[in-house]
């Protein structure tokens, strides 16, 4: 018991200064690729057209790495509508509709001492009944479509849907996205989005007027 306390003190503060400070160690290939040289690029996800990269489609496959280089800055998510009512206590429920597990793992990372999103007044609930936001990860599979709708129905209003990762935004190269099943209020790009991107999206959704 005592030793746990000493161990903790000796370890110091691990938590990132983000969003007040800069984001450290942003995974390079979750940031936006920028064109460096001319040449033919075959983007399997169809994210590149006319030299511009649509991050909502990018799957971090590096097929463009000969001519494009990521800029290293965290991507900003698209916030269509926010939920300012939850500014002090923001509860989220994650539903996995068909992911590869990476997005689940990154959302789970928000708990760890490095990102520690509780410090920002954000919490995970165990039931959509208590949730302000529904984080959808993965493509919408046939088996989970009903469950996704049921979870949305079960949430009290006001509520928002956060499509997290390319799969849930557009379906990526695997299936169909959340569009057409539920209205997506926030789109967090990335395959998987870095914890910073998710955190940033949550903050901006909460603070949006």
């Amino acid at each position: 018991m005592k030793s746990w306390v000493i161990r903790g003190l000796r370890k110091g503060v691990l938590t990132t200064r983000f969003p007040k400070g800069d984001a450290e160690d942003v995974p390079l290939w979750t940031t936006k690729p920028v064109k460096m040289s001319d040449g033919e690029v075959r983007c399997p996800a169809g994210a590149i057209s006319d030299g511009a990269v649509d991050m909502n489609r990018c799957i971090s496959c590096r097929r463009c790495s000969e001519h494009y280089m990521p800029d290293g800055r965290p991507v900003h998510s698209t916030v269509n509508s926010g939920i300012s009512i939850a500014s002090r206590s923001f509860h989220i429920y994650m539903i996995d509709t068909g992911s590869c597990g990476a997005c689940n793992s990154e959302v789970h990372s928000l708990h760890n001492p490095v990102y520690d999103f509780n410090r920002l007044g954000m919490f995970v609930t165990n039931t959509p009944r208590h949730a302000d936001a529904l984080i959808v990860v993965g493509v919408v599979s046939e088996g989970m479509e009903m469950a996704l709708k049921a979870a949305y129905e079960a949430m009290p209003s006001p509520k928002i849907v956060i499509a997290t990762g390319t799969c849930s935004i557009s379906g990526g190269i695997i299936g169909k996205g959340v569009d057409g099943v539920l209205p997506a209020d926030v789109l967090v790009p990335g395959c998987p989005p870095s914890p910073y991107a998710i955190l940033d999206a949550l903050i901006r959704a909460r603070d949006a007027k």
């Binding site: 039931t127 989970m144 009903m146 469950a147 049921a150 129905e153």
Partner: protein, 619 residues
């Protein structure tokens, strides 16, 4: 008024039954109403009348008879109304049903052992036939019913023999024999479901397998007949403390186990059957308390305990009749009679009636069952102050058992009331059935609210047993007018008090005020259940409701199979049942070989022969 009147009156429905079953039931209902009115009027009058044919055939009417005729008639009325819609089979059911009632009337108005035994045996035969001729009835339930009925008959015959050898008369006379009383109490207690060695399970099997209107008679009024007889014989002999103690101990023991089995039973009728044993136990405790109080010359307490028995037997007879009718309705729509397989949809009338019955049987105030339980507990509390330490300790233990049983019965009753009344109101059944249930529900509610008046008007009946009335205990206090407050006679004046009328009034006032204030404004939202995103499964049915009970008392149920609809059988019972069924098989084989006919008829032949002998002796 002559006893012949009631006997003739109740002979009408069996005659109609030979013609048409509906006529039998309608005439049964009419006859019951007439006899309820007459006995209700004569109950307070204190009139008696005797009818003697010879030295052995004697009938008598007195306050105690009127009281039990009144209680019985209410239950028979409800059961007859119920049967009009319930019974869709041939005439045998209606014939045996009305003969059963006639036999019970005969038992109650008898004043000699011969007529008592004839009535008693007739009751057994009619019951046996009613169970045996039900479609899909197995060999075991009717056989069990008969075995235990005959056991009770044997004990009563033994009692009669002991008394006859002492007094030289077959008529009821005051007698001085501890053995006679012991044999009698044991014999009659069988009808209350109290049998030694934890072999209580025969009653739910036998009563549960009968057609519902039969179950109503067996569990409601046949138990009442047993209580009547014990009360009658207590009044005829001096109080033997040992027997009183034995009754209290046996009652407490059966009560606890029966209430555990009731709470963990899934079959609606078995649940009700176990509840009968539990109530039988309570009544036996109260009867034992009368004996012990009389032994200590505390006639006020004895009168109070007799009052407890009367309220209890009223609430049990009518309430249990109602509960069995309610269970019969559920059984029709639940595969295997399992409560967890019942889809719901009971209409308002029977839902309300069934719920009222169940609440009363759960022992809640201000219902009849609650008043009875309160009076019983008060009696036991006061007995703690007796000078004999043994009695004090016994009273504490018995009181604990009664409380425990009351708590456990709340599980069983809330289960049947909760899961039996859920869902929409779209169940299609004849109106008579719903009306029958509602009659009993209203009766137990009214009984509870006006129990002080019942106690006052059955003063003469109580006097027969205890030597005094409870008139002195019915009082008034502050705003409670005279006659609406029941008090219990402690060693230093009033020990405890309750006014069921005022309880009912306050509950009504508060709940209707709350409803008027908030009820109309509340918005009901129905949202789909969140169950992991799918609608499948996860329902909370009655089986899960009582699972904690099964788990807590798992050592009592070694024989219970996973997910079986069998009884939560105890070990002693499992063994006895195996032996019985082996015996049954053997005798069936023998019967086939010997009579080349059905075993039921063979059994019937034996019993009828016995009655014939009795009648021959009588003449």
């Amino acid at each position: 008024m002559t006893p012949m009147f009631f006997l003739v009156l109740f002979s009408i429905p069996p005659l109609f039954a030979l013609v048409d079953r509906r006529c039998a039931y309608i005439s049964g209902a009419v006859v019951s109403v007439i006899s309820a009115l007459i006995s209700g009027v004569l109950l307070g009058s204190g009139s008696t009348s005797m009818l003697t044919f010879s030295g052995t055939i004697i009938f008598r009417l007195d306050a105690l008879t009127y009281l039990f005729l009144l209680i019985g008639a209410i239950a028979w009325f409800a059961a007859s109304v119920y049967s009009i819609s319930y019974d869709r089979t041939g005439r045998i059911n209606s014939l045996t049903f009305s003969i059963s009632i006639l036999a019970m009337v005969m038992v109650i108005v008898s004043y000699s052992f011969v007529t008592l035994l004839i009535g008693w045996e007739l009751m057994s035969v009619a019951g046996y036939l009613q169970i045996g001729y039900r479609r899909n009835a197995g060999a075991l339930p009717p056989f069990l019913f008969l075995v235990f009925s005959e056991l009770s008959t044997l004990l009563i015959i033994a009692m009669a023999a002991v008394i006859y050898s002492a007094t030289g008369s077959m008529s009821y006379r005051p007698f001085v024999s501890v053995w006679a009383l012991l044999l009698g109490v044991m014999g009659f207690a069988v009808k209350l479901g109290i049998t030694p060695f934890l072999l209580t399970d025969w009653l739910p099997v036998a009563h549960g397998s009968a057609p519902t209107n039969g179950s109503v008679l067996f569990s409601g009024t046949m138990t009442m007949a047993g209580v009547y007889c014990i009360m009658r014989f207590i009044s005829l002999t001096e109080p033997y403390m040992g027997i009183g103690v034995l009754m209290m101990a046996a009652g407490a023991f059966s009560l606890v186990f029966a209430s555990i089995f009731a709470a963990s039973s899934e079959h609606v009728k078995y649940l009700s059957g176990y509840s009968t044993i539990e109530n039988g136990g309570s009544m036996l405790i109260a009867l034992g308390a009368i004996v012990v109080s009389l032994y200590y010359h505390d006639i006020k307490l004895a009168a109070f305990a007799a009052g407890a028995v009367i309220v209890y037997v009223f609430a049990h007879t009518v309430g249990k009749a109602g509960l069995f009718m309610f269970a019969g309705l559920i059984e029709r729509h639940a595969p295997g009679g399992r409560l967890d397989a019942f889809g719901g949809g009971m209409p308002d009338t029977s839902s309300a009636g069934g719920a009222l019955d169940a609440i009363s049987l759960a022992g809640l105030l201000p219902f009849g069952g609650g008043i009875g339980e309160w009076m019983l507990l008060e009696t036991l509390f006061i007995m703690v102050t007796f000078s004999n330490y043994g009695i004090s300790v016994l009273s504490v233990f018995v009181g604990a058992a009664v409380s425990l049983g009351g708590g456990l019965s709340l599980v069983a009753m809330s289960k049947i009331a909760g899961f039996g009344t859920r869902g929409g109101r779209d169940l299609k059944e004849g109106r008579g059935m719903h009306a029958g249930v509602m009659i009993t529900g209203a009766a137990v509610l009214l009984l509870g609210i006006f129990s002080s008046y019942l106690l006052l008007s059955s003063g003469n009946a109580i006097r027969i047993v205890s030597g005094t009335t409870v008139a002195g205990l019915i009082k008034g206090l502050l705003v409670v007018p005279q006659g609406l407050l029941i008090t219990s006679p402690g060693p230093d004046g009033v020990f405890g008090l309750v006014s069921p009328f005022y309880l009912a009034l306050l509950i009504t006032v508060f709940s209707s005020t709350a409803y008027m204030l908030f009820g109309f404004r509340s918005v009901r939202r129905r949202v789909p259940v969140w169950s992991g995103g799918t609608s499948a499964g996860g329902s909370y049915d009655s089986c899960q409701y009582s699972n904690p009970m099964r788990f807590m008392f798992r050592h009592l149920f070694p024989a219970m199979e996973k997910g079986s609809s069998e009884l939560p059988a105890n070990a002693a019972w499992s063994y006895a049942k195996r032996m019985a069924s082996r015996y049954c098989d053997c005798s069936a084989e023998f019967g086939r070989w010997f009579m080349n006919s059905s075993i039921n008829r063979y059994m019937l032949y034996i019993v009828i022969a016995l009655i014939a002998v009795l009648v021959y002796v009588a003449i």
